[in-house]
């Protein structure tokens, strides 16, 4: 039985530690040196370190690389030397990053072109289709619509690769990673290079 609730209620003065003057001086010096060291430390970083990148700058660069490491069947576009088309379906999260990423770049001598579609109805044939997360609610319909075409579908929506999409961006520890549904790619005749497969996380459905 311990006396829970008993309160002595002593009015207490704050105890002031009394140190000899020398110790006080030493403490003051110690405190000052910490202060100086810290100030120096905090004011140093005029040398700004390597840049962290904008998420969509990185994702745009990935899209360009997907174009390099995926092989489309010959029958996709009428002109085998025509441009490789990257479509963006729904709200464009790249804000111009994708246009900058492909500027002046070619893949096997082919130019890259960006097309934007506000809805599935406006969709035209492309090589890569980035499905914006704004289309989350329409995913089954979108995937059904491109099911028979050789389109590399890419998104950043939870479980996209599991429900039939081909590549899905995920963020792990502040870095961009991607899941690949190889079976879905093979179904529409896309060949994904082993390099891409080894860097991605292969999912099975």
């Amino acid at each position: 039985m311990t006396n829970t609730g008993r309160k002595t209620g002593l009015a207490l003065e704050r105890r002031e530690a009394v140190s000899p003057p020398r110790l006080k001086r030493l403490l003051a010096i110690g405190r000052l040196s910490i202060l100086i060291a810290l100030t120096v430390l905090f004011l140093l970083p005029n040398r700004i370190g390597a840049q962290e990148a904008n998420e969509y700058e990185v994702k745009a660069a990935f899209l360009y690389n997907f174009a390099r490491f995926v092989e489309w069947p010959d029958n996709v576009s009428p002109d085998p030397n025509g441009p490789l088309i990257i479509g963006i379906l729904g709200r464009d999260p790249f804000g111009g990053e994708i246009d900058r990423a492909i500027e002046g770049k070619t893949v096997n001598g082919r130019r890259l072109v960006i097309k934007r579609f506000s809805s599935l109805e406006a969709y035209e044939q492309c090589h890569i289709l980035f499905v914006s997360s704004s289309e989350r609610g329409n995913l089954p319909r979108i995937l059904a619509a491109v099911r028979t075409r050789s389109v590399l579908t890419v998104s950043e929506t939870d479980r996209f690769a599991q429900i039939g999409g081909i590549i899905n961006f995920i963020t792990i520890e502040n870095r961009i990673r991607f899941e690949i549904n190889q079976a879905a790619a093979a179904r529409v005749g896309l060949k994904i290079s082993s390099k891409l497969l080894s860097l991605g996380r292969v999912v099975r459905t």
Binding site: T2, R6, A11, R15, I34, F42
Partner: protein, 705 residues
Amino acid sequence: MAFFDSLENSSHPILGEKLARLLSIAFARRSQSARIGMVLIAAIISSSAGAAIAQDKADSGQKPSGVADLSLEQLMNVNIYTASKRWQKIVEAPASVSIVTADEIQKYGYRTLAEILRSMRGISIGYDRNYSYIGVRGVSRPGDYNTRVLLLVDGHRLNDNVLDQAFLGTEFPIDVDLIERVEFIRGPSSSLYGGSAFFGVINVITKRGRGDEGVTASFEAGSFGTYKGRVSYGADFKNGLEMLVSASFYDSHGQRLFYREFDAPETNNGFADNSDYDRSHSFLANLSYRDFRLQAVYSSREKGIPTGSFGTVFNDPRTQTVDAKAYLDLGYQHTFSNTLDVTGRLFYDRSDFDGDYVADYAGTGTPPFVENKVFSRGRVGGLELNASKSAGKHRVTTGVEYRNNLRQDQGDYDAAPYFSYLDDRRSSKIWALYIQDEFRITEKLIVNAGLRYDHYSTFGGTANPRVALIYKPDEHGSLKLLYGQAFRAPNDFEMFFQAGDFSKSNPLLQPETIKTTELIFERYSKHFRFSVSGFYSHINGLISQRIDPADGRAQFSNVDNVISKGVETTIEGKLTNGIEGRFAYTLQDARNEQTGDSLSNSPTNLAKMSLSIPLANRKFFASFQGLYAGERRTLASNNLPGFFVSNATLLSKSLFKNFDISASVYNLFNVRYAAPGGQEHRQDSIQQDGRSYRLKLTYTFNRGQ
């Protein structure tokens, strides 16, 4: 938008200056070291503001075409800044939310969940050298073991079923290194979570294995003979199995403490020599496979009590508490056709408390003393089912919860000569139903309304609603109006604990209730976030311990009504060069409605600031944290002065390959400050830690895969 643009682009240096001036006024007449701290912070804010402007200019100008030309392998290693994503989440949430991530835990050198929470706006933390206590919205009642916040680990309730206690200090069962992030959701949330979600919900999200592949070993050493070690194994198999298994130990000898209340020859002249020890070990396993998830947790902590609380013999190291917690949680989550989400959870928890209190009943001050033992045994099993479906402009979530409190036992006895004061064995049941609808009236206007009914076999039923009106003029901001009710059920300790002539039970206790209205304005841009909010809460029937004049025994009853109100603001920024910082300020007032007196342990002013800067090409991160709490009243109506405490951590993640090294100094300027003592203490206030150090090394075996 115009308002926020100006904040981001032009007024930042002025802001820094103003901030510094404001702060120097706020901290005037404080100790010299606090003033030095303020000058330092002002310097930091101004310099970082300058850097921020420079950086923003650099951003808008020509950008070196870097990322687009990187190889696939290089791209895999580019860090992206995720601040704006996090801010989007905060702005859209139907509540006022704070988030601390693993990255911040590492950079700022947080050692416990209490330290993580303490960095958040409006939260105060006190430590009585036994447990850590949280104060939210100006309320931190003596003898309240954090029962008015709900603590969740990955959605699993941690408050036990005897005392409803939330463990926040070294007693928290999860090693902070294994935390992915901590979210604090302010305001009443009983409409979704039921009991204890009174002032807010702390949701701790643990790491899963992905991103932490391989074996990691961590060791740290700190002041007062403190050592901590951890070994973890993480894996993310191609077949979809993901796992994290980790074991930790912690051992702190503790401090030699002086308490003038015990300054007498028979009580070692007020010195507690070997009674501040703190030892724990813990184990965590997270397994997930496809739609299933299994979490297993075990932890035990023993803490010596150096304060002579509860009238125990001072400076006797046998006086201690042991808290052991273990649980299994099996979860299932499946998305059907992208519009229907189903989740389920099955769990079993055990919580054991054993307190040894060395008592001197004879009052002679000489041995033999009697070892008095208090214990509680909590066992609870239960399940939760939840379904959520989108249909047009609505998203409806509905669920059921059932908890079977198989054991809610507590006891109190003397070991030798044996005498039992209390041997109370109980069990009870709780079931609940809830429904919530998110109605997107237009693109810009969302109504989020919810209601939950809880039925307790002890006191009956309670229904708690919540409504949020969210106006989003654009992608980058929101204005939210919230109203919610919540309850805290009387716990078994308050209802049934009684010990001899001192205290008696009260089985007729009813839940205490809170009604809160909040208004929140938030904006964010690429690099900055700003928020300002106000709250008004009315608490009814707060359970407090009173002495019954009829027999002089202490008893819990629904006596107090409290009004708590306040305004808060946050400014935070994260730049692409890695500089990040935050400033938050809270002005609050909590007072007893009947007497008009402000509550004890309720600081009117709270300020938090933090700044982290990368140095030498990101080889190092220097991080500084400053915490201010204003004057508070103790139980004996003394005023404890406000204090400014600062912490600094230097972290390197790449100085040596595979090593993370960090060095921290806590309470940099060795500021003396104290927290009010509870009724169980003879001390009216309890001195908090002075300056201390920590060195931490973490080695990862196969990083870079």
